[in-house]
């Protein structure tokens, strides 16, 4: 069926079209490492994209380390000013709270690690 259509299209072409086709025709250009260079560029771009998030996180952590440490100290000194009953209230309501927080953090770390491995 396809060849029939092609034949029909070929018959519809006039001499002028064939002449133009022959004039526009050119030898195929040798690859000469062109595709390898593009592939290399693509790989480099992929690698950069993968590195951006961890590197940005690391830089962010380094930059924010001092202010966060100061914030934690300030919050710690604030909690000492709060009444003891208020601080122990959430733990009394949910006794497994520290375990839940720890589990959540582990889960998040695992998910991030799996994603990195998958990449």
């Amino acid at each position: 069926m396809t060849s029939k259509i092609i034949n029909m299209a070929e018959r519809l072409k006039d001499n002028e079209d064939r002449l133009l086709e022959s004039m526009f025709a050119s030898d195929s250009i040798a690859d000469d490492g062109f595709s390898a260079m593009i592939e290399k560029k693509v790989r480099r771009r992929l690698w950069l994209r993968r590195m951006i998030l961890p590197v940005a996180t690391l830089i962010g952590a380094l930059v924010s380390y001092k202010p966060i440490a100061g914030l934690v100290t300030a919050v710690a000194s604030l909690t000492s000013m709060l009444p003891q009953e208020l601080l122990s209230a959430p733990q009394e309501l949910v006794p497994q709270l520290p375990m839940i927080v720890l589990g959540g953090m582990l889960l998040a770390t695992c998910l991030v690690g799996l994603r990195a491995l998958e990449d």
Binding site: D14, N15, E16, D17, L19, L20, E21, M23, F24, A25, S26, S28, I29, D31, F34, S35, A36, M37, I38, E39, K41, V42, R43, R45, L46
Partner: protein
Amino acid sequence: MTSIADHELVARAASSQDAAAFGELVRRHQSHVRNFLRKLSGDITMADDLAQDCFMHAWDKLHTFSGRGSFIGWLLKVAYTTFLQSKRKSKRYAEILEEVGHDAEAKSRTHAVQADEVTDLDKFLAVLSEEERAVMVMSYACGLSHREISEATAMPVGTVKSVIFRGKEKIRTSFDIKDHQHG
């Protein structure tokens, strides 16, 4: 990987960021894209630079390839857009150079065609407008159908046909092709 169809390679490259699959696509189509850009720009070095840009754009936009038309049609669309963008940029650069008084450099930048290697085809292409040149090259050098050219250039099929007709008319009147047609 050479026996795999283009569409499958595109799917593989886009979904799993497979650089090898994309590399195979580049290997298959680099000649067409570079030929198209060489004919369009008339400058081999510039065309090869544009071809690199084109393939990198294609990699970034691979997910936008719907798979309805041929991959080479889509690739030539990216190549044509890259060419137009670069032309706009160099035009703006030439304008700035002119504004600051570097007329000679500005003129040399706007005339990219190398005078030392003028072929018959270059003479034909010279009489065509940029749009006609792109459409004629897509049609006669790359073998794209009118529909594919319409998708690549964002022109209606009817306009593509009339641009080809106009281009042929220009070549015919400029080079007296009638003689060849009948003999």
